[in-house]
């Protein structure tokens, strides 16, 4: 076994005669080959990039009206937790396609629906009816009953969903996690003393 001799590169002693033309022809072919690869690469990259970017959709593309149930299940003057299934979902989402929100019934036909996510970093806020505050367990953000900012790190009040009442059902325009970038932005109202920002 040990006697065998394998081909080794440096055994090839004889060097080919230098032929400028032949060499440049080989390089030309390589360059054409590289160019061909680049063309195919771009052609393949286009669908790949489109595939990768497919989850990114414009604001509103994911949203639709979702029912939170009969308005009778929300007593006037109270704030209650409501749950719904996200309108966009996949079969293997498990429990994660469920979403919670806070429903405040101000008057017979007047509702405010707040996102569960704190406007600071998205943690779930909790409602305390006794003190009339929403409190966030993460960094101590607090909001008043109408969702406006009370204290802590949030820059604005709670995110709200648009609401409407259809055949005695409370519906909200939902479908994506509310964040600072896909909800109403802070509006700086000019000419107000102190220029305090309001959630618009």
């Amino acid at each position: 076994m040990s006697e065998e001799v394998l081909l080794e590169g440096h055994d090839e002693e004889e060097t080919a005669p230098v032929d400028e033309l032949a060499v440049s022809r080989r390089w030309l072919l390589l360059k054409i080959g590289a160019f061909f690869n680049a063309v195919v690469g771009v052609a393949v990259a286009v669908p790949v990039v489109k595939y990768l970017l497919s989850p990114a959709k414009p604001d509103g593309a994911y949203k639709s009206w979702v029912s939170l149930g009969s308005i009778d299940s929300f007593p006037v003057g109270e704030t209650r937790l409501a749950k719904f299934t996200n309108p966009v979902g996949r079969a293997w989402d498990g429990e994660t396609d469920r979403v919670a929100c806070w429903v405040r019934r101000i008057a017979q036909e007047q509702f405010q629906v707040f996102a569960i996510n704190c406007a600071h970093l998205g943690c779930p806020v909790r409602w305390f009816p006794q003190s009339g505050l929403f409190m966030c367990p993460c960094h101590g953000g607090a909001y008043y009953a109408d969702g406006s900012r009370a204290s802590g790190p949030p820059e604005r009040g709670l995110f709200t969903y648009d609401t409407k009442i259809v055949d005695g059902d409370l519906q909200i325009d939902a479908g994506q996690m509310p964040t600072l970038s896909n909800t109403a932005q802070l509006v700086q109202i000019q000419n107000t003393p102190g220029g305090s920002p309001c959630a618009g």
Binding site: K57, E95, R98, H139, A150, E155
Partner: protein, 492 residues
């Protein structure tokens, strides 16, 4: 024996790896680098191997589906023989890996090992650190419990703060509009394919450069690194005062790596696996999400920053930090290596370590968070506070408890730490100041004007007025005393 040799030769004739490996193993390293200070890099590499092996073993069972991931982790914990142990090994291995990588980096910084010609080794090391942290974060997501779910929410909220493309960034991160099945799938792909692949390739390149450029010599005060002369000086040093890498230096690496592996195994066996915590049901809101140990400092930073600074800090600080780390060897590529002559380096390292420890400590007990159950689940206002109180003051104690004041203010050592403890509040605030603070709030306190009736405010403040030491009168308004003095004679 002879047969083995023949077999070896048969393979080596084809693989041709024997010679380069021998050269690598026997290359001379400076005698003083055969030190216990030089063992962290190899330990980090061994931990990476451990994570790959235990990761593959866990992947045999884990289901990367939002609906089933949590269940499959519980099967691993409770139903499969020693499944809990492998989860624990992987979890503790991750903790040790982050720690060892950070210690390795601090040591390299302290020993000036990033200077010429090892700049690129350092830059690759910075990327390796980022990827290690990336693995830690994505791994925490794969645990797919409540903390993972809301941790993703925090990540998405941070991504949404990017100007112009925030919404796009959130969708790309979550794989859709909400945290759900698509989110877990993409984090699985990153944790299992993308980052480990890059991590392994970069780590091998990193080790290759260490072997090719030689191990950093022990820094001596006055031994200056110059680009023109360094290579010759290093070569001379290894010739004059060197030893072969194997076995001269590597035996300490072997001992330390084994000790680290043993420590991981002991931690895993004694302390067990991490979670999974509560079910990833977003409608269960009785939760106080918290990140894993290595991100606690960031969690603390995010509660202390003023709101207006938060977005700039979140988006700019990481970029600046990474740029600074990458730029380091190019700004300080020459000169002194010894810590005896680099006071700024020592100062930077100690301040970073100190800041990190303080923030991590704060992050573990979150004094800024309201204690959500302090008003209902904790002990009531102690009897000694109300024993000699009037009915109005006792009513105030009830208001204090039932209006959740205690979620943020402690009394008798029980309650939140968001606001100041109120045991002695009457000795520092007058009645009027207390009323104003309750009604209008301010200084991180919500205004209670709308949520308390006038009689509740009166009762509450009269209770708060009793909170002062027995031998010290409550704070009083000096102008009122003056008014009282002026009024009294007229009455008489």
């Amino acid at each position: 024996m002879r047969r083995l040799k023949v077999l070896y030769e048969w393979f080596d004739r084809r693989l041709q790896l024997g010679e380069p490996i021998k050269e690598m193993a026997l290359h001379p390293v400076p005698n003083k680098t055969a030190s216990w200070w030089y063992v962290f890099g190899s330990a980090a590499f061994v931990l990476l191997m451990l994570q790959i092996v235990t990761g593959i073993l866990l992947a045999l069972v884990y289901v990367p589906s939002a609906g089933q991931a949590w269940n499959s982790l519980n099967v691993l914990n409770h139903q499969l023989t020693l499944g809990w142990f492998l989860r624990a090994m992987h979890g503790w291995g991750s903790n040790f890996m982050v720690a060892v990588v950070l210690i390795h980096m601090a040591q390299v910084f302290l020993f000036g090992a990033y200077k010429f010609p090892r700049e690129l080794t350092w830059v690759l090391g910075v990327f390796l650190l980022l990827m290690t942290l990336g693995m830690a974060f994505t791994g925490q997501v794969l645990r797919f419990d409540q903390d993972a779910y809301w941790g993703l929410g925090i990540g998405a909220s941070i991504a949404s703060r990017v100007p112009f493309v925030g919404n796009w960034a959130v969708h790309m991160m979550l794989g859709g509009p909400i945290i759900a099945g698509a989110t877990l799938s993409r984090f699985f792909a990153f944790h299992v394919f993308v980052i480990p692949g890059m991590l392994l390739a970069f780590a091998c390149l990193h080790v290759w450069m260490v072997l090719k450029l030689g191990i950093n010599e022990w820094p001596m005060p006055g031994r200056i690194v110059r680009r023109a002369t360094y290579a010759a000086e290093y070569h001379k040093l290894t010739k004059k005062d060197g030893r072969a890498f194997v076995p001269g230096a590597v035996w300490k690496d072997a001992f330390f790596s084994a000790a680290i592996l043993a420590a991981v195994a002991v931690c895993a066996a004694v302390l067990g696996p991490y979670g999974p915590g509560g079910r990833p049901d977003p409608t269960i809101i009785q939760t106080a999400p918290k990140p894993d140990f290595f991100f606690l400092w960031l969690y603390a930073v995010l509660s202390y920053l003023p709101p207006s600074l938060e977005t700039p800090f979140l988006l700019i600080a990481p970029a600046l930090g990474i740029a600074g780390l990458v730029a380091l060897p190019f700004c300080a590529g020459e000169g002194e290596k010894s810590w005896h002559r680099r006071p700024v380096a020592i100062l930077m390292l100690t301040s970073i370590a100190l800041a990190w420890s303080v923030l991590t400590h704060l992050g573990t007990f979150t004094p800024w968070s309201p204690k959500m159950t302090a008003w209902s689940g904790g002990s009531p206002v102690p009897v000694r506070y109300t024993h000699d109180a009037s009915p109005l003051q006792r009513q105030g104690a009830i208001v204090f408890q039932s209006k959740q004041c205690r979620n943020c203010h402690s009394i008798a050592g029980v309650g939140g730490q968001r606001g100041p403890a109120l045991d002695l509040v009457a000795s520092r605030m007058t009645e009027d100041q207390l009323i104003r603070q309750v009604l209008q709030g301010g200084g991180n306190m919500p205004a209670y004007g709308k949520n308390l009736s006038p009689s509740e405010v009166t009762a509450l403040v009269s209770f708060l007025e009793t909170l002062h030491p027995a031998n010290e009168p409550p704070a009083a308004d000096a102008s009122r005393n003056a008014a009282a003095v002026l009024v009294t004679p007229a009455h008489q």
